[in-house]
């Protein structure tokens, strides 16, 4: 189980990296998925561009109500309290514990997860739920793609092969937003069978805004739009959350069967998990 041969570049600037990508390079950031796939010889690039030595890409910045996550910000960064302000940081902090385990979180990056686009990825589900914007750069220029349009299928995104995912931007969540993240999986090492992230705002017991991100509920990360619509304007209640769960399972999700989780079971888990996540997300 060894990678096939490739050439290696370690660009020192983004411009050098973009030149390498234009020449067909595969980006190596955290490498925790890429190297696994290369071991399995499912991916065999001729050229690998290791961006780990480019200064500045590891920045995690907040300005004008927007969080910008650079391409080299590791998963682990989000485990530090206060790394990201407010409820957004709280939500990331709850989600990050479900991403693999500490040694993987030390190397792997949030932007890399978005570039890889595994259907079970926690970050990808949150990106679509939180209206993240993905910054893509190439020698041809820079463009920004909303997460809702970015994911195209399992491991498929709007990113062109010569584009580098340089940053992900998230609007901060209002301070009174309640958040929760739950995941259902078989063991500490397995991928999520279903994971749900939620952000809720309420006024006087009525839901004013709802965001629900679903991981591994379709061939790509989903935002549960129908369930969210059903919630806005509803009073906070177990009944409303259960109904939202049903809606997410039946209308939003498009589960793909896999061993130990056929479509019926997946829908059941989605319904239960969405309801539970929403209950937990009610702002106090």
């Amino acid at each position: 189980m060894k990678p096939a041969a490739f050439d290696y570049l370690a660009p020192r600037t983004v411009a050098e990296a973009l030149d390498a990508l234009a020449a067909g390079a595969q980006v190596l950031a955290g490498g925790q998925s890429l190297l696994l796939e290369m071991h399995l010889q499912r991916v065999h690039p001729d050229l690998v561009a290791d961006i780990n030595r480019i200064p500045g890409l590891d920045a995690l910045t907040v300005s004008d109500g927007t969080l910008t996550v650079g391409a080299l910000v590791r998963h682990r960064a989000f485990a530090s309290p206060g790394a990201v302000p407010g409820p957004l940081g709280d939500l990331f902090g709850r989600a990050v514990g479900y991403i693999a385990h500490p040694p993987i979180r030390t190397r792997g990056t949030m932007a890399g997860s978005l570039a890889w686009a595994h259907p079970a990825s926690e970050w990808c589900a949150l990106a679509v739920a939180l209206d993240a914007v993905v910054e893509l750069r190439s020698t041809r220029g820079t463009r920004e793609v909303p997460a809702g349009e970015y994911f195209r299928g399992p491991f498929q995104t709007a990113r062109e092969p010569d584009e580098l995912l340089t940053a992900v931007r998230y609007p901060l969540l209002a301070p009174d937003t309640g958040v929760a993240f739950t995941e259902h999986r078989r063991t500490g090492f397995s991928f999520a069978q279903v994971a749900v992230g939620a952000a809720l705002t309420t006024r006087d017991g009525v839901i004013t805004e709802a965001r629900i991100g679903l991981a591994n509920c379709a061939d790509r990360p989903l935002r549960a739009h129908a369930a969210e619509r059903a919630l806005v304007g509803a009073e906070v209640s177990s009944w409303a959350f259960a109904a939202a769960g049903e809606t997410a399972a039946e209308q939003d999700a498009a589960p793909v069967p896999e061993p130990y989780a056929d479509v019926d079971y997946r829908r059941q888990v989605i319904a239960v998990l969405v309801a539970r996540t929403l209950r937990e997300a009610v702002p106090v």
Binding site: K2, G31, L35
Partner: protein, 164 residues
């Protein structure tokens, strides 16, 4: 590519292919075979080493990524005079190993964490033990060993002059 791996304070000038993973460079090129390969998928953690003080899967890093970066392996865990690391003593005392194949990975994982935070809490220890696979012990003895080492490590730091 010509690189220099700096492992346990020794320099190893190497000429490696870019595809060579760190674990193979350590084992075959540096002759440090204490780092084991159990899955080459980043899952089992037998190959865990410290790169720049951080525990990483050495099967999921390329050797060329580690040019000039300090690396520590199980061979470098004992003190300069060969005095065993508290973790090594604790793993033996708590019977945290049977066949010993996964052991170097657990040791380095815990060593990195202990060095960052000598007062490891229960949750941190649980997350560490939950990061690697062992098929012999059932993990509980490993948890006890890391907990004991954290305790001994602190005691050692507080009262080094008292210990003979």
């Amino acid at each position: 590519m010509k690189i220099t791996l700096s492992v346990n304070d020794d320099a190893y000038p190497l000429d490696v292919e870019p595809r060579r993973v760190l674990a193979d460079a350590l084992r075959d090129d540096c002759g440090l075979t204490g780092t084991h390969l159990g899955c080459e998928q980043g899952v089992c953690g037998a190959c865990t080493v410290l790169v720049d003080g951080e525990a990483v899967r050495s099967c999921l890093m390329l050797a060329v990524q580690c040019d000039g970066v300090p690396i520590r392996t199980v061979e470098g865990l004992a003190g300069p005079g060969g005095e065993p690391h508290p973790l090594q003593r604790a793993f033996s005392a708590e019977r945290g190993l049977q066949c010993g194949f996964c052991t170097p990975g657990f040791l380095m994982l815990a060593a990195g964490a202990l060095e960052r935070d000598p007062a490891l809490g229960e949750e941190e220890v649980a997350a560490l033990v939950g990061s690697n696979l062992c098929r012999c012990t059932g993990y509980e003895p490993i948890r006890r060993a890391i907990t004991r080492a954290a305790r001994d490590h602190q005691k050692g730091q507080d009262g080094r002059h008292l210990s003979a």
